[in-house]
Subunit: 253 residues, 2 copies
């Protein structure tokens, strides 16, 4: 018997506005799509719709860049107001080059521009969108709303799209989660022949984020939510920030 897992991309999301309830929308749109919500579903949500619902939008015309922002804008060639907003979201500037501003963001993730995104916001180029304030908490709220509305127990992963060091092209990664562990852990386990497994700890939340791209990938808001159904996953506590490698283990600096 083969193992089967299904990836379902939900069609028909409206443009999200501040105050919209994402859990509520997922339930009603899953219903309209004829797939509903089932126990054990993993629901993968693009961070952009969560940010919009949480009002994480800034008008650059109201931003006064600090001296630090001015200096980094000079180095990177970026809009100083945009750099100022990026710094709001930043713990530490990791690398500033002519085209790139790589920072450690408030969730501890090393990424370009702290995930602050200028495109795709209501047709205005002076509007930028920030990542959710606390993506694990955003995921928890969606899980609980779905539980409240349907009685079903699900897990939620919130994703954003990132470039990667050493590897071309972008992939989605997990920036928030609830109801599922970030890793599938094999440390200390042996294979069928009694050997220590080479695979130690699979970044399962990132694998699920990448999986969702098969149905959500289009850079637009066409399909911002995927349901992954039929996977026998490890429930449990965890934070997406566990996926961030601590600085003392970086081999590349």
């Amino acid at each position: 018997m083969p193992v089967k897992v299904e990836i379902i991309g939900l069609e028909g999301f409206p443009e999200i506005k501040k105050g919209d309830d994402i859990g509520d929308l997922i339930v009603s749109i899953a219903e309209k799509n004829g797939v509903g919500i089932e126990d054990g579903d993993i629901i993968v949500v693009k961070s952009k719709i969560v940010s919009k619902a949480e009002g994480r939008i800034v008008n650059l015309n109201k931003v006064n860049p600090s001296p630090d922002a001015m200096r980094l804008a000079e180095i990177t060639g970026k809009d100083p107001r945009l750099v100022e907003v990026i710094l709001w979201e930043t713990i530490e500037v990791v690398k500033a080059t002519r085209r790139h501003l790589i920072v450690k963001n408030k969730q501890g993730m090393v990424c370009a521009n702290a995930g602050v995104d200028r495109s795709n916001v209501a047709g205005r180029s002076d509007i930028v969108i920030l990542l959710p304030e606390d993506p694990d908490e955003s995921a928890r709220k969606i899980v609980e709303k779905i539980r409240e509305l349907t009685g079903k127990k699900v897990a939620v992963i919130i994703t954003d799209t990132y470039g990667r060091p050493l590897r071309n092209g972008q992939v989605d990664m997990a920036i928030g989660l609830y109801g599922i562990k970030p890793f599938k852990d094999y440390r200390g386990k042996l294979d069928l022949k009694g050997y220590r497994l080479r695979v130690k700890r699979i970044a399962m939340a990132d694998a699920l984020a990448a999986t969702s791209e098969l149905v959500t990938v289009n850079g637009s808001e066409g399909i911002p939510v995927a349901i992954i159904r039929g996977l026998n996953y490890e429930e449990g506590e965890g934070k997406a920030s566990e996926l961030n490698m601590p600085e003392d283990r970086w081999l590349f600096k």
Copy 2:
């Protein structure tokens, strides 16, 4: 109408021996699993079974470490014979630390140990397994064998499991492919509102590799092949090595 994609993990692969035909096995095992092969299937194959079929196995007892291997073994704390085999597969040593030997391998991928794996080989700790010599070519042979046996047109991706800079946990990445482009390219395209898309180029082959983990992940040979069915993907020419970022674009060294 939702978009649906299915991930099917094929059960019942035997232990692979040198000379086995992987394309042949996939067809017969897909049949036994009751799912067969369909036009448009993307078949994701763990490199380990390809390596074994191609006889890419080395007995360390027959390896004489070179002075370079001795020196790197001293730095990394690894078996000098293992380091010697790693150097066979290496274009350039990128980083050698107390525990890690990071190299650019013959396919141009920066990874630990050039993908040479000591675990999981027939119960013997002096046996190591190397990556397929030319994984794109291995993928091509599997595609053509499946075409020959079933008349179906499929794509094949060959994967291996890797750690990532800056991010905890391992994921599968594409090291060989045929019949599918490595990227889904949005460069120069605009979103619904006329804005340049932030997402430029999705590493689709890596996303598919990560997707396969949902059914193959276990570090053993339990399920070495996943069929991804129902995805509307871009056929075409390409090489997995296009996923490797050229050194002049590395931000972290």
